[in-house]
């Protein structure tokens, strides 16, 4: 028997507004109405400004470790722009911009990194799950959330974000495999920023694209310039339509770059060249949109100044809200452990607030003395 080919496949790459300002009229015309483009740009600017402020807050000891989103604003924003507001948005920690578009308040993100769980108490109507800390695990939650929609006969889908490092995790493969084999409407978006802390992408994936990994699961897939809001919106329109109408998953590789360190605890100069960073700075997702808007007469220096002033006011107000929130009660961390706290936990909570060492319940009687909190707020 002659050997025959059983699979030939290709991966498309979408770029509409490139770093040099070239705009593909055929794909891009009418994709984003002018008024929306202005709003998207304003969101990216606000997100970038918050990022810079958060960095300074960390450096001045007012906030804990923080992962900057700088350079990666477009991918999650494009997703949130295309998704319905009640579609699930299941993110890790470089999707602030999409969450803000969804209406998640900036102080939610600030509080999370200021060491306050109340930042994770995502208002339910936003249909956004809190930042997932272990890598790739949230992809399975997205699959389950979308599966629940299918189970109930709803049209709601889920969209989940993760980085190139996550594609090495078992949960990445399990989530893709479950979604494809059980026909679950999830859009998987890998923000390929080329670095998982200090480890380059080639250690995570030796194939030429991350996007092609989806083919192995029988999933439709595409790669886009993740710094191009037009390309991101184009791909998400396809992906969301596919998920919603066919009830099937879809994979998007958004090629982008982490312009900052992994977190404020990292120093990227230890492992990557400044020349590489500079090259990607010229591909910044904000700059090209601003130039494009100026060219189209939608934007001006005056508008930019006005925007920056407004954004500064908004971010300052968010920081103030986050920093002046009523401190949690001393034993507040007990209260949400279970819907109804077991008696033993109630006892631990009560004794913790006294001088009792907490071994004999009788020591609590009449001895509940509020001790000053040891934490700092």
């Amino acid at each position: 028997m002659p050997i025959k080919n059983v699979l030939t496949t290709t991966i498309d790459h979408v770029s509409i507004l490139d770093a040099d300002g070239r705009f593909d009229e055929k794909l891009g015309k009418g994709l984003i109405p002018d008024a929306d483009l202005v709003k998207l740009y304003e969101h990216m600017t606000a997100c970038r400004f918050l990022d810079e402020v958060a960095f300074k807050l960390q450096r001045s000891g007012r906030m804990g470790t923080y992962p900057q989103n700088m350079g990666q604003e477009a991918a999650s924003l494009g997703a949130a722009y295309v998704l319905n507001n009640d579609d699930w948005l299941v993110t890790c920690y470089r999707e602030n911009c999409g969450l803000f578009w969804r209406g998640v308040p900036m102080e939610s993100i600030l509080l999370h990194w200021m060491g306050d769980e109340r930042g994770n108490a995502m208002p339910r109507p936003h249909h956004a799950t809190p930042i997932a800390v272990p890598i790739g695990t949230q992809m399975l939650h997205a699959t389950g959330l979308a599966w629940a929609s299918k189970y109930r006969g709803e049209k709601r889908i889920a969209c989940t974000f993760f980085g190139d490092g996550a594609t090495s995790e078992g949960d990445f493969h399990e989530a893709m495999n479950f979604a494809a084999n059980l026909d679950v409407p999830v859009v998987f978006c890998c923000q390929n920023n080329f670095w998982a802390i200090s480890v380059p992408g080639k250690i995570q994936c030796s194939a030429p694209t991350v996007a092609q990994r989806a083919i192995a699961y029988g999933m439709d897939t595409i790669q886009c310039d993740g710094n191009d809001i037009f390309a991101v919106v184009h791909c998400f329109r396809e992906a969301v339509k596919h998920a919603r109408t066919k009830g099937r998953p879809y994979f998007i590789e958004a090629v982008t770059y982490r312009l900052g360190d992994h977190t404020t605890a990292d120093d990227a100069r230890r492992y990557r060249d400044q020349a590489e960073v500079d090259k990607w700075k010229s591909r910044d997702p904000l700059i090209r949109v601003r130039k494009h808007m100026v060219k189209k007469g939608l934007w001006s220096d005056a508008k930019e100044r006005e925007l920056l002033e407004r954004v500064e006011r908004e971010v300052t107000a968010a920081v103030e809200r986050a920093e002046t929130i009523t401190p949690p009660a001393r034993a507040e961390f007990f209260d949400s452990m279970y819907e109804t706290l077991p008696a033993d936990l109630l006892l631990q909570r009560d004794t913790m607030q006294t001088h009792s060492i907490g071994q004999d319940p009788s020591q609590i009687e009449g001895a509940v003395i509020e001790l000053p909190t040891k934490g700092h707020h």
Partner: protein, 322 residues
């Protein structure tokens, strides 16, 4: 009233909860047409269809991770992990997410799921099919852990677990899946999580146990001819220390029996609590009869590893004579 095995009692509980509540669905490896490797879900796929009884890909983290998503969306998933030895791949999802979701979101998201897991040795199963890892999950804040020792308890506890608003690991001792039958009401009933059962009352000593070991304890107590109170904890978190305390204050002596390894086994916690609460009532040291701090041996030696009626009886005599 029907005379049922533990497997049949669990099957009945699943049927009744699925009929009562559309949000309940089963997922796992081989739970569909095959009815599970222990036939616990037998007939359910035919009865409720592939939408509610779902054969998943073979991946434990995937099973628990997607079940977390289903639960966050308001459904009541009941994932099955085929054997306790395969909880390992799902550990991250159970402990990093299911257990923490309510508290890390201060109640905005909850994970009402019940993870069913056959547990323990004694059935001549292959490697990693006979372990007793309950302490790991008792030690993980945010979870509830249940292990019944009889068909009647299994049905009532499982229904409570399914209706519980927090994540529950429901360990099913496979050694007694079909070891004996018991009258189990066909009407639905629940048993509260966190309440122990006094299996038999006695005055001279308290024996505390759970799961399949309860049956071994009953044999040992019968053989001893002594007046011994046997407490089956039934729920391991939250656990009914009040029941243990009341009994030990009455008897002054206590033997704790479990299949899991000794060091950091849950018996250590019970013994410490007895020391905290009953110190001046004790007539003898608290004695543990447990598995060993070894890898669970293959089945040729598994009965030497697990506490049996002989070892428990010797401990009872030793503590009675102290």
């Amino acid at each position: 009233m029907a005379n049922l095995t533990l497997v049949q009692a669990i099957n009945l509980a699943l049927i009744q909860e699925m009929e009562r509540d559309e949000r309940v669905l089963l997922l796992g490896e081989d739970v569909g047409a095959n009815g599970g490797v222990f036939r616990v879900t037998e007939g359910l796929h035919k009865r409720f269809g592939g939408k509610r009884v779902v054969d998943t890909p073979l991946a434990e983290s995937g099973i628990i991770g997607t079940a977390i998503g289903l639960a966050m969306a308001g459904l009541r998933p009941i994932p099955e992990i085929q054997f306790e030895g395969f909880l390992g791949p799902a550990y991250d999802q159970i402990c990093s997410h299911a257990a923490r979701m309510r508290t890390r979101t201060r109640g905005a998201f909850t994970v009402p799921l019940t993870i069913r897991v056959p547990v323990g040795g004694g059935i001549h199963a292959p490697e990693l099919h006979s372990d007793s890892p309950e302490s790991i999950y008792i030690h993980t804040p945010g979870l509830k852990v249940v292990m019944p020792s009889s068909p009647y308890d299994a049905k009532g506890l499982l229904i409570s677990a399914i209706r519980d608003p927090d994540p529950v690991i429901f360990f099913e001792p496979k050694r007694i899946y079909r070891a004996f039958r018991e009258e189990v009401p066909e009407d639905e009933y629940t048993l509260p999580l966190g309440k122990a059962r006094v299996v038999c009352e006695g005055e001279q000593m308290t024996v505390v146990s759970w799961g399949a070991s309860v049956v071994q304890c009953m044999q040992a107590i019968e053989r001893s001819g002594r007046s011994i109170e046997l407490i089956d904890l039934r729920t391991l978190y939250p656990f009914d220390m009040d029941a243990v305390e009341a009994s030990v204050k009455k008897t002054g002596r206590c033997v704790i029996v479990h299949e899991a390894p000794k060091t950091c086994g849950f018996g250590a916690e019970i013994a410490t609590r007895i020391m905290e609460r009953c110190f001046l009532h004790l007539e003898a040291p608290v004695q543990r009869v447990t598995g060993f701090d070894t890898i669970m041996p293959y089945y040729k030696l598994e009965l030497d590893y697990m506490p049996d009626a002989d070892r428990i009886a010797r401990a009872i005599e030793e503590i009675a004579a102290y």
